[in-house]
């Protein structure tokens, strides 16, 4: 092999680059977080699968309906009625944002900006 002085470091850099995630995990890897589900309620407004995929879309639809169309009640796929409100409906069951929302959102890195306006239950509690 020629130019080994440059090629071998190059190969090492190449390998390091492609295996970057492994190195970034070294010494700091944490277990996959489990979200804290409501204790009393077993069923969300829609199925678990649906909610996991589409909850943001649903919340966005809710906002439009309430704010812009004055429709304050959601009729779920199972025919149940829910008052549309993040703070007063969702968070009544999921009573801790940090243990529910943030766990997952931090895990997959999404930056929803709900909580700059909406008040998480634990934040409301701590308010002087």
């Amino acid at each position: 092999m020629y130019n080994a002085d440059k090629v071998i470091p190059g190969i090492i850099i190449l390998i390091l680059f492609f295996t970057l995630p492994i190195w970034l995990n070294v010494g700091r890897l944490e277990a996959v977080p489990e979200v804290e589900l409501p204790k009393e309620e077993k069923k969300c407004v829609e199925s678990k699968e649906f909610m996991r995929r589409e909850h943001m879309k649903l919340l966005d639809d809710w906002r439009i309906k309430v704010l812009r169309e004055n429709q304050h009640v959601y009729l779920s796929g199972e025919g149940k009625n829910f008052k549309i409100s993040l703070q007063n409906t969702c968070m009544k069951c999921h009573e801790n944002k940090e243990k529910f929302c943030d766990k997952c959102h931090n895990f997959v890195v999404t930056h929803p900006d709900c909580w700059t306006c909406h008040i998480a239950p634990e934040v409301a509690k701590k308010w002087k």
């Binding site: 704010l67 004055n70 304050h72 009640v73 025919g79 900006d113 306006c117 008040i119 409301a124």
Partner: protein, 259 residues
């Protein structure tokens, strides 16, 4: 070359159409019977309006200590920012000459000199703020309420320039540090959006009248449907003389002052 390319485009087109249709077929989402309704207990009107009985109000003020303002701001998490320039107000008081500057009337002024008048968004029927908003973040509902969609507001403040009543406030900074107490049932606002009174649309939805009206111990605020002849508000307006702020600007305010 030409023919070849045309052939190719055909294939490409077919491929694209094919893949799109197949994608639709393959990934069709489970259809859900979702629907939205307005709650039956909601209050409905063709045009919501408010009357402020100035005499009652002025006379009662030494005792009521502007309960309407306190209740509204507390309920809606309106911060109290000490810097006047960055203030946020949904409902507040000011003197006659500032409330009706276009009607300088020495004599009226004498009666009401330095007496507090209640101010809030006029919920105009012809609102300039709605006209100028570039994103429909401010819009007029069917029931006449001029609504704010804080999720859509880009913070351009064109509405503030357009509003002749100074009814709109802008969140120059994050309001939360200025909130002593918080109503956990209602959100705050984020920095960089405009806000104002919305006639308690969230209370109307559950069959309640606006908080300021409800809280006034002297019933100086009357709320109702202006287009319903039998409503209390229509009757009063038919009976008594009322004025509106800067009516000459043609914005057609829905807030009336009984003199």
């Amino acid at each position: 070359m030409e023919i070849k390319r045309r052939d190719f485009l055909k294939i490409l087109g077919l491929g694209l159409v094919g893949s799109i249709t197949s994608a639709n077929f393959l990934f069709r989402r489970e259809v859900k019977a979702q629907s939205y309704i307005a709650p039956p207990e909601a209050l409905k009107a063709k045009r919501w309006g408010m009357v402020i009985d100035i005499k009652k109000c002025v006379n009662a003020q030494p005792d009521c200590k502007l309960k309407c303002v306190e209740v509204c701001h507390k309920l809606h998490n309106v911060p109290s920012i000490p810097d006047k320039k960055k203030e946020i107000k949904w409902i507040w008081e000011d003197e006659y000459e500032h409330v009706f500057p276009e009607q300088p009337n020495e004599f009226v002024a004498k009666i009401y000199a330095h007496k507090p008048f209640i101010l809030l968004c006029n919920q105009c029927a012809n609102p300039p703020c709605v006209r100028v908003c570039p994103t429909q973040a401010t819009f007029k509902r069917e029931d006449g309420i001029v609504m704010m969609d804080y999720h859509r507001c880009i913070g351009c403040r064109f509405c503030m320039a357009a509003c002749p009543f100074g009814a709109r406030s802008f969140n120059w900074v994050d309001p939360r540090p200025y909130l002593a107490k918080v109503n956990p049932e209602y959100p705050t606002r984020t920095k960089g959006v405009v806000e104002k009174c919305t006639f308690c649309y969230e209370r109307l939805a559950v069959g309640k009248i606006p908080a300021c009206v409800e809280s006034c111990p002297d019933k100086a605020l009357i709320f109702g449907d202006l287009e319903d002849e039998h409503s209390e508000i229509s009757k009063i307006l038919k009976e008594r003389f009322s004025i509106r702020r800067k009516a000459e600007l043609g914005t057609d305010p829905s807030v009336f002052y009984l003199i």
